[in-house]
Symmetry: C2
Subunit: 304 residues, 2 copies
């Protein structure tokens, strides 16, 4: 089984954490170095890594901080304020719990990550089982290496899958990451802009929609990259199944309790130094939206 | 009444047609020169001008070609193959009709344009009457100077309107043209990316949606910039009124008969020389989509 670099984008070597800089892809496959928890928190805030990359970064940061004899409660606090919509509390509470119980922190963390890897592979395999030969899958943003893995498993199961990917403005994770990793793995993929979904679905070109989620609440609502909600609404209208690859559920009761992160307008108006809009104009950039459970055909859980 | 440069973006001075180069906005307000019908057709193909600008360019091209003693049937033919989804046939047939009838071509054309200007102003005024004080309007792409004009008329009528504009990938007409002209006219405007519409509507931030149309068929279906259909689907879901500023209807019975123009993938993958996606990846770029009449709350007709 081949893995996308995005499947496990963070590595700990010696006392340095290597972070795949997702903002440089697909032009450059480069890794940033984090030497302490402050470097790590900055990388999360600046979206150098996302999704599973952030989970890995949090966990490796605890290993590193433990070796550096830092106050882990303080490290946890710094991590938990990096991004409003994302819930790292499950992770930080788990680590502080191990510490309280006197569990060997490094081994417990590495064991957890090993388990996470296995569960993610399992999640991809289970998703592949839901596919039919010839399925055309639309996805949004990036699910950290799971899409090519799903295609690989489907292939093993004798089924061919092809993909459409929304480019996912403003950061273009769809074009830069997902299309790149699917193409790299040798599967068929076509990019569309975010406003083409309804037209594409009206043509009958898509058989299933599969997206990831950054947050799952107790009632099945999910928060994911801005634009996910819109795709779910459109999927409902055209009666296309809408599947969500979920992380473990948080303690929040419903999506209404999720705080949406509003990012700086310039991240929408400027792309790699190029101005895309008048300089003085206002822009609104909510980084996530909440898709209610009623629009989700099937949750594909990651049991940890 | 002040007009946006986009309200009448084409001028004929002497024997040169000046075309506002919409691809250079908002950074530069510059005009291209067309000295014959071949220059004009190239500008249409390359989307240097759009919507009403194309209508004006077609009409001024006939005046110029007539002065240059060109075969007007040949000019009509060249114009009609520039862009598959757009119907210039109404215009070219009208001009060839005048010629056949022996009507003075230049005066007939200028008379038509004068009438068009009056009807467009009327259309903006009628639209303003539909607004309530405090309305928040979401629009997509660019309706050639009508949005600021609607806001001006609403103001005259004692009503305040503010705007959200989708950036409208891949050409960003929303950010570059609509947001620019609304801001320039002194009204409140905020840009969002194309994937934020559902989330914005779910927050109750929009009271009306108003878009233009490049093509209106006999049954009320419209073709407009890609993404319009998706907004209409989402508007229906959230029960937000969806108004369309229409051009005169074509002879086509329904939207099913409209041929959708597919443009080169690189226009989606590259923006002003900047690569937004892996070089080798496939991309799909339908320039328009068709919104069925049943999703349109109200057609605002331009009677000519």
């Amino acid at each position: 089984m081949k893995f996308s670099p995005l499947f496990w984008p963070i590595q700990l070597r010696g006392n340095v954490i290597y972070i795949l800089d997702e903002t440089k892809l697909p032009q450059k496959l480069v890794y940033l170095k984090a030497k302490n928890y402050l470097d790590a928190c900055r990388a999360i805030k600046e979206m150098k890594t996302r999704a599973v990359g952030q989970v890995l970064l949090v966990m490796y940061t605890f290993i590193l901080s433990n070796r550096q004899h830092k106050n882990l409660a303080k490290v946890a606090q710094a991590i938990n304020v990096t991004r409003p919509t994302l819930s790292f509390k499950f992770l930080t509470d788990m680590v502080l719990g191990w510490q309280k119980q006197g569990a060997p922190l490094e081994k417990s963390t590495l064991g957890f990550l090993e388990m996470l890897k296995g569960k993610r592979i399992e999640q991809a395999k289970e998703t592949a089982k839901l596919l039919k030969n010839g399925d055309v899958i639309l996805t949004h943003c990036n699910v950290s290496g799971l899409m090519p893995l799903i295609a690989e498993f489907a292939k093993e199961q004798g089924k061919k899958a092809s993909f459409y990917v929304t480019e996912t403005r403003p950061y273009l994770q769809g074009s830069r990451l997902t299309a790149w990793e699917i193409m790299r793995a040798g599967f068929d993929v076509t990019i569309i802009t975010d406003n083409m979904v309804a037209y594409l679905l009206s043509l009958g070109k898509v058989t299933k929609i599969i997206v990831g989620a950054d947050h799952l609440t107790q009632n099945g609502d999910i928060a994911n990259k801005i634009g996910t909600y819109q795709i779910a609404v459109v999927a409902k209208y055209f009666k296309i199944p809408f599947y969500v690859l979920c992380p473990p559920a948080s303690k929040l009761k419903s999506g209404k309790e999720i705080k949406i992160e509003i990012r700086p307008p310039d991240e929408l108006k400027i792309y790699q130094g190029l101005h895309l809009a008048p300089k003085e104009v206002k822009a609104y950039y909510p980084a996530f939206d909440v898709t209610p459970a009623k629009l989700i055909t099937k949750h594909i859980y990651l049991e940890v």
